[in-house]
Symmetry: C5
Subunit: 251 residues, 5 copies
């Protein structure tokens, strides 16, 4: 699980919680209806109207991947691919069959190669797969950005409903305060959902997409090198071109 | 009818209704004038000033298509076109005359082909039709986005009118609450119209446009294959190129 | 006068008027100072600072054209040009001298042709004229969009001035209500100016520009056909290419 | 001084002044601290943090040029350049040495020509100068747009400070009104600065940039014509091509 | 340290401080919880969720560089490079080994040259370094812009929490004022963080990036000239082409 996301979520939520608890009325901050309007209406209902169901189904797994992922270790990936190239050269392509490969995308490519698929076809399959994965990420970002707009909007809707309810029965002045407090709660929930969750998550997904794309490009180029029987040193040099200067010198 | 839209509309509306009903004054939430200002002013009047009447006439049918449509089944469409290609090859183009075709756009192309129209002309007619359909979708999205801006604006106009009315007669303090409640209602209506209807509908129309465009491209390419007498297997391979990898392997 | 604009303006204004009248204090909604700030400040003063005077002079005539124009009847225009082509072919170019021509742009081109101007020069003159007309439309849209921003801004300025005035003399609580009502009025005026007038007008101007551009392109191509002595049937076919499929089959 | 800017500034400011004076408390609208926060903080402080000092130094002279400039008289400029071309042809390039030239950019070019600089070098020098002038205009617009954002933001900051001050000492209810009035003032100042000054000024600078660029292009082309010894009639025709049709026929 | 940033920060902060102190309750403006929510939540927590940790680590050093840097003296840099070129020509490349070089990027290039690296490789290394540095600046701007959005959002969240707390315990009317003041404070902190710090800082970083990029381009071209043994006068002419006309004539 990525450290930054965990720490960030912890800091943001704990600081808000402290402010709530220090007020001495923490329980008033829990209100089921307000939650239902923001989460059920803004984060589930409106997206269901706006996006097709399959896109929404992908969202959770994509967010999980993007938000809780470890950083990509491209230099290590390159080293591993170079080792594969070495093995394929010394022994044979078939020798790669039993190597354990963690990166799903690399595994797919190697399996195709071991199965004797045409290099051009492998490249086409992997490129199509990459396009498809990127499309899913874009769909995910679109939904997260939509929720970032909708959560505060439904927060305001809930607050407006609460205000109308309160104003309609203004007989007891002592009840105004708590009723108003509950009305404002929905706006608070909407702001929290947009600014602690969907908004920052969409940003990290953007970064994750760039990182995974880079990894997939390295893998495609690497498998190409293996298939063409490049000398491992040349393969390494080719792949290192994908990394920024700083990461190249690090390892 | 598309499940997502139905469920989404149900969730969003029911959750807002629950909050209204639990307030115990559900009837105060019904106000004809407020509705007239938001719907009549923001969703009908302003769009009439801003857009030509023919564009607005299209809107309802387009929204119906986009919001309540089943998902496009491109793999099935391809299978069906391949069957047509097979039939046309074994028997003759004229044999397609009596085949029942559900997809309007495909039917139009096949009819033209059976009538002996020049292939180049068929392609030109279908391409022009596709451009025209996409233009209508874009007009529809433009109007929906305009309404998404105008509904809250007219909601605010109604609330301002209500506030001025209330403030002008501040003699009876006990009347302030209900009068204020009514004033705020228009803002609530505007927010509901924009965030539960026009906004999400415009988003789904965007997706629908992409899906229908893909279908039309498949049909144009498919009819091309039929007219050129491609072997069905080759026709299928060509058409499958339009699908993402995942959908190709599924069927 | 275009029906949509008339109906739209009527609906939007009448619905707001109903809400005003039903409040029972219609007269309080008339306030000269508030009007002066929004109209004089936001719709006249600020645009005078922001745009050169000649651009502003054009605005009124452009808005009139765009908002109250009949729909363009391109199929009829084409039919008329084809008739001109027929006449010019049967008789001579000079025979077009006495034909009554409603469309200003077409008249200009025919007059140049009858005067014996070089075809290349006619085309250059008409193209330059088209560019100039489009530039004027763009200037008009820019000013309308600027007013759509400025009207609410000056509405807020007026309300702030009113609030400060009211708060400075808070001695008589019974005067707060009406003073506040007057203060809020300026915001209402700003919202009406932006959302019933300048905003929707700018949108219709955008559509009008597209339509008039299409008409001018048809005219330029048509005069070209006449000058080159195209057979009327060929001229018609060329010009029909400018229309969407639906309009072509209609006539 | 340009009439539009003067009239626009007069109208906008006078109308706001009338609303202030009619309130009967004009003096309360003068508040040094509020002015300091909006002007010192939003219009000077924040821009100093955001932009390098040399860019800010240019701003005042650019705004002066753009906002108070007469309209560009391109037809007259062309006539003048054609006269120069005539003189250079009849007498010699050196004869232009003593001609009085008002337009700075033209003067620079003629001086270079009279000094015997290579035509290619003159063109390069003038093009570089034009690029540099346009860059300064863009810097100016960027700063004005930044101020248009910052002035209301600092207006809000001042109001928030005022509100906190007022709320902290809520003992005397009769003091609430005036204290609140002063707090709101800063927001008013911010709105005035953004909507009467920086915002519209940035817009006019945009127009001014387009106009001066056109003039500079005419000058560069004109000096080119003079250096190549074009016949004055041909030079005029070349230069007229820069003007819209309407301005060409006017003179 | 850049003068503009220092003066700007001083002006903006002092003017706000004066308004705070003149209110007579300066201490109420210090509130730890409010600061924690805005700084901890909006400026640290949310960015941690949204961006990967290495990007955030770079931020502080980048901001320091961009905000407190002296203006770039490109004319001096060019003069210095020309001197290096002279020395390399008269003596040899190795003579540059002991020259003291302040500009890090130039030092790196010269060191590579002295070490006998291939010119093509040096160019590739420096270009990659430049791309990497620009990428870091862009990451920095993205984070600053994100904070400019998040700081006011968390300001609002804090104010909403405070309002709910206050409204829930409305028993003692005399406590409303101070409680409300504290609630509003968080919004004030958010506005200050966004408008005095992150927003203007992001703008200056944009300018800094353009300036440093120009310097790096001059250095790359200069080292190229040195390696190719250009005559110092020609090297100077080449490098001067990077400067705007005004800076060229100045020195």
């Amino acid at each position: 699980m990525e450290l930054g996301t965990v720490i960030g979520l912890a800091i943001a939520n704990i600081l808000v919680l402290i402010a709530i608890i220090k007020g001495g009325n923490a329980l008033i901050f829990l209100n089921l209806e307000s939650m239902l309007i923001v989460i059920g209406g803004g984060c589930i209902g409106a997206p269901l109207i706006a996006f097709p169901i399959p896109h929404l189904k992908n969202l959770i797994s994509i967010v999980m991947k993007a938000v809780f992922v470890q950083e990509f270790k491209n230099a290590e990936t390159i080293k591993f691919i170079v080792e594969l190239a070495q093995k394929a050269r010394k022994e044979s392509l078939l020798a790669l069959e039993n190597v354990e490969i963690e990166i799903e995308f690399l595994k797919k490519g190697i399996t195709l190669a071991v199965d004797g698929t045409e290099p051009a076809t492998i490249r086409a399959v992997l490129s199509a797969e990459m396009t498809y994965i990127k499309k899913r990420h874009e769909d995910g970002m679109a939904i997260l950005n939509f929720i970032t707009d909708m959560a505060p909007a439904f927060g305001m809707i809930g607050t407006l409903v609460g205000l109308v309810n309160m104003l309609a029965t203004l007989s007891d002045p002592s009840a105004i305060g708590p009723a108003m407090a509950v009305a404002i709660l929905t706006t608070l929930y909407g702001a929290l959902a947009a600014n602690i969750f969907s908004g920052p998550f969409s940003r990290k997904l953007e970064w994750y997409d760039a990182e995974e794309t880079l990894q997939m490009e390295i893998v495609i180029e690497g498998i190409n090198s293996i298939l063409e029987g490049d000398h491992p040193a040349i393969a390494e040099q080719k792949l290192m071109g994908f990394l920024p200067a700083s990461q190249r010198s690090q390892e």
